[in-house]
């Protein structure tokens, strides 16, 4: 007797908003893998832009750099990180001196670094998952 084919299901880390991801890509896990790969591919460059802006205490550039990376987190379901970026962007908008941002900057950079590790793990898992036949 043949068993009906069950759809492959991937369980994301609880830090990732999987409902949101499914709303964007349905169950196209191959494409999700690609999205994670592209995001990781550009991550260091985008993070470097943030660090350089901070090093030169250039608040408008810092705001721009964070603004650029922000939606990338939405595309990989890290909606909380996207929100943190937005809040940091708002702080940049309001502050007059880079010194006021020191704590928030440290926090956002730590969040970004943590997100990168998570994305690397999830990307590796997705890759393995997609390589496994039904």
């Amino acid at each position: 007797m043949n068993n009906p084919t069950l759809p492959k299901i991937f369980i994301f880390s609880e830090k990732i908003d999987s409902d949101y991801l499914f709303s964007l890509y349905a169950d196209d896990f191959d494409y999700m893998e690609e999205v994670f790969a592209v995001t990781l591919q550009h991550f260091d460059q985008d993070l470097e832009a943030i660090e350089m802006a901070w090093a030169s205490r250039d608040i408008p550039e810092l705001k721009k750099a964070v603004h650029k990376i922000k939606p990338a987190f939405g595309f990989v379901g890290l909606t909380d990180v996207q929100q943190s970026c937005k809040e940091f962007e708002d702080e940049c908008q309001q502050c007059a001196d880079a010194g006021e941002l020191k704590t928030s900057y440290k926090q956002i950079v730590a969040t970004l670094a943590e997100s990168k590790s998570l994305l690397e793990i999830e990307h590796r898992r997705l890759k393995e998952f997609n390589a496994t036949p039904l």
């Binding site: 999205v35 591919q41 550009h42 939405g74 937005k86």
Partner: protein, 229 residues
């Protein structure tokens, strides 16, 4: 028919996603992707597109600055992660505003709005005549009688085979109002009746002996509309 579009977006993952949505819909065909405004402008100067997916904040210049510098205005869908730009979007008369990331369903809604806006402008501009105020009266001009319209500062001159009519108006305003099946802007100072072109040489076209300059930005669109065999 598929809309010819370009994507101006500096976030690779967003551009890829947008391209994928276009492909999946079968309603839009991506001709090119640019990550900054100057390169997009250079392309748009030489090529006409129906639709522009435009990010706002990009290195060097913003999407709004691109719209300010464009010689013609295709339909525009803004793609940004900042809701605050919605007001500017309204001011620039963009068709829709997609907040990144957006679902495929939301993307489709935006494309349908583009379709509706195009149909609306076709209906608005589909009459065979216009009325202009000239010499204290309203004069009816059939589209087929108008050779071209020339800017004269705050006034424009409608040129027909027999007569010239001067009226208070601007090329920019008329561009939106004339029947696009007949008329197109070829230069910041000229709108021509495309059915009246006698010949084109380099960067000028000729209508009944009148030499009319073609701007670089419009040349691609003119050639696209001509029945070249």
């Amino acid at each position: 028919m598929s809309l010819q579009c370009i994507i101006v977006e500096d976030l690779q993952v967003a551009a890829d996603y947008l391209g994928r949505c276009c492909e999946k819909s079968g309603l839009a065909s991506v001709k090119a992707h640019f990550t900054n405004v100057p390169e997009a402008l250079e392309y748009l100067d030489k090529n006409a597109v129906d639709l522009l997916f435009l990010d706002v904040e990009m290195p060097g210049a913003t999407g709004f600055e691109l719209l300010d510098q464009m010689a013609y205005h295709p339909k525009v869908i803004l793609t940004t992660s900042k809701s605050e730009y919605a007001y500017n979007a309204f001011e620039y008369n963009v068709t829709d505003f997609l907040k990144k990331p957006f679902t495929y369903q939301r993307f489709l809604e935006a494309l349908h709005k583009v379709g509706q806006a195009s149909e609306q402008s076709l209906v608005q501009n589909s009459t065979d005549h216009i009325f202009i105020k000239s010499d204290g009266k309203l004069v009816r001009l059939n589209n087929d009688d108008i050779l071209f319209i020339e800017s004269m500062g705050d006034y424009v001159k409608f040129v027909t085979p027999d007569k010239k009519y001067i009226t208070h108006n601007t090329i920019k305003n008329l561009e939106e109002k004339v029947n696009k099946h007949f008329f197109m802007k070829v230069h910041r100072s000229y709108i021509i009746n495309i059915t009246k072109i006698d010949d084109i040489r380099e960067n000028d076209l000729f209508i009944k002996g009148n030499e009319i300059p073609i701007s670089k930005a419009h040349k691609g669109e003119i050639l696209k509309r001509l029945n070249i065999i």
